[in-house]
Symmetry: C2
Subunit: 352 residues, 2 copies
């Protein structure tokens, strides 16, 4: 399912094209979907020419050119990507929160005593306005009730089932289609040049792992997220299983992002992409490494094709939500390139 041709690992696009005639001999059983003719003529076709596109191309070239002082050894090539708002749509609510809210009736069916208890009562009412006002502790109760207590296999099956039928309220499409085509091309360009691409998300690690390979070409073992413990046990027939526990091991947001990177990857990334203040420490941690590093922010400034929020609104910092003015200012100060969805992206979604 990995979308990058494995045989190109660590090899520049030019070398790949030059060596293309040799690939079928190696790729017989491995790369059914890959054919040299399908290789795009240039790596970022959905990007307009500009500083953001150039920063990506320059970084990849510099870090993979053995003659460059910024050369990075293949095994060190790690690039990390926030998910919500960086790889796919995060409005009006995080996809995983939509899943949790939709799962409440099933949880209440198993535990009827929750029916008249808040916050479950409000969710069951279907009153979107009241649900939007739920407090953080209430949301945490919903997350704990809907994301734990089942086996890891049952959870995976349930998420798959939900993803197949749930639709985004604005586009009436599966959430998994609301990924940013230009960012899929960035993931591909990094992988084509030997980078391991990781998602580093505040969302649930187990949730994102269900679809990461299919949607992003990122295998589950390259997803770092907020994660709870599991508990090993045996069924009556002696078969072992893992149950998802309500014990939080890592809140993979803000300072938790570099901590999660250390926990799961154990190497400092050379490139990091984010969009909100929750990505700040991940970007700082990446930037603080020696050698050439790339940090970029996605700016949501396209109300017509997606959304405009954060600094793009021109509102005072106090009114800005997840993408604070302070992070935007830090990006400017550090010359971290900012990606304007409106100006840098020719199209937003694969279906555009």
């Amino acid at each position: 399912m990995t979308m990058a041709p494995k045989a190109s690992y660590g090899i520049s696009r030019r070398a790949l094209l030059l060596g293309a005639a040799a690939i079928p001999a190696l790729s017989g059983t491995l790369l059914p979907a890959f054919a040299p003719a399908q290789t795009p003529a240039e790596p970022l076709p959905s990007w307009n020419d500009g500083a953001a596109k150039q920063a990506i191309l320059d970084f990849v070239r510099t870090t993979t050119d053995r003659a460059s002082p910024g050369y990075v050894a293949p095994e060190e090539r790690i690039a990390v990507f926030d998910q919500d708002g960086t790889l796919w749509v995060e409005h009006p609510i995080y996809t995983q929160v939509a899943y949790c809210l939709d799962r409440v009736p099933a949880v209440v069916a198993e535990k009827p005593e929750l029916k008249s208890v808040e916050p479950f009562k409000t969710v069951l009412s279907g009153n979107r306005e009241a649900m939007a006002k739920l407090s953080l502790p209430d949301l945490e109760k919903i997350l704990a009730a809907t994301l734990t207590g089942m086996s890891v296999e049952d959870f995976e099956a349930d998420v798959k089932k939900w993803l197949a039928t749930a639709r985004h309220p604005r586009w009436k499409r599966p959430y998994t289609e609301l990924v940013y085509q230009p960012m899929l091309e960035v993931l591909r360009a990094f992988r084509d040049n030997g980078y391991k691409t990781y998602i580093v998300t505040g969302g649930g690690q187990d949730f994102v792992r269900v679809y990461s390979e299919q949607v992003y070409g990122i295998p589950p073992e390259q997803v770092v997220g907020s994660v709870g413990g599991t508990k090993f046990g045996y069924a009556k027939d002696g078969k072992p299983f893992l149950t998802k526990e309500p014990k939080l091991l890592l809140n993979d947001d803000h300072a938790g992002k570099p901590e999660g990177i250390h926990l799961i990857i154990g190497r400092r990334p050379f490139a990091a992409f984010g969009n909100s203040v929750g990505d700040r420490q991940m970007l700082e941690w990446t930037a603080a490494g020696a050698g050439t590093r790339l940090n970029m922010l996605v700016l949501h400034d396209d109300a017509a094709r997606e959304y405009a929020y954060g600094p793009a609104t021109g509102l005072p910092a106090s009114k800005i939500g997840t993408f604070t003015q302070a992070l935007y200012d830090e990006a400017k100060k550090n010359s971290w390139p900012v990606i304007s969805m409106k100006n840098d992206w020719k199209r937003i979604f694969p279906f555009d």
Copy 2:
């Protein structure tokens, strides 16, 4: 540093040899150490013919042959290996414990008040007999004092320094040389057939990651171990850093092994190698998956070339330490092949 040629990922040894002429065109910048002429004629040269060797060869062939009902897709190919006693020597004490004991003087130099406090007093005395009698809570105090409180970079540098000078008491060689040559060949055979090889150790994840790539060809992101939290902070100059905290996130032993596999990998392995009762749940979790699975145990029955302990001693179960008779019986019952160091291995160490 990865020892497996990346271009062979997912490709059988036979296909690799048949396609060898094509490799240089692809591997120009990637595989400096690789040359087809160096490929060994057969994959497990340090193994005697027998049931154990055959079980490994059969498993690899079955799971990589597209025509076989046991075929495993490349992205699902995960093999896990316990470290201590499975990949390298674990007697007379775990290497990491040796590191921690050697580090005590440096810790006491920074905190002189520990000098007259147990268990540090005993360790400083250098009395090996008294040290061998330290209780588990005492050892935990030593581990906490020597493995936490520093930045992740300082820890890595200190472990590297220690590994360069420390010597095993019996062989008078660096601990990193006391790896089992036959198991290095197993790791290589799995990787040559598209398997991702992981270490799943009760030892410290950060400790093993320091040398895993150099010693086993396993990159740090493929090491699962016991792991504590880290804490993100800023130095006075504003530079971010991660401090190793005394908060245990995962005790990666016994039931913790399948839990750690889920945490770090998120896929069930197809093959698992262990040697002690701490590996039991990992083997059971692996065996319980659908399709073809391989579980194997290393039996330490070679006092002349390494050690004899566990069931090989013929002692009653109550006297047997880490490798209990119960696990050995479970292996027999489930037809998990047992590797006899004495009979199955032509040589033990790379320097033999």
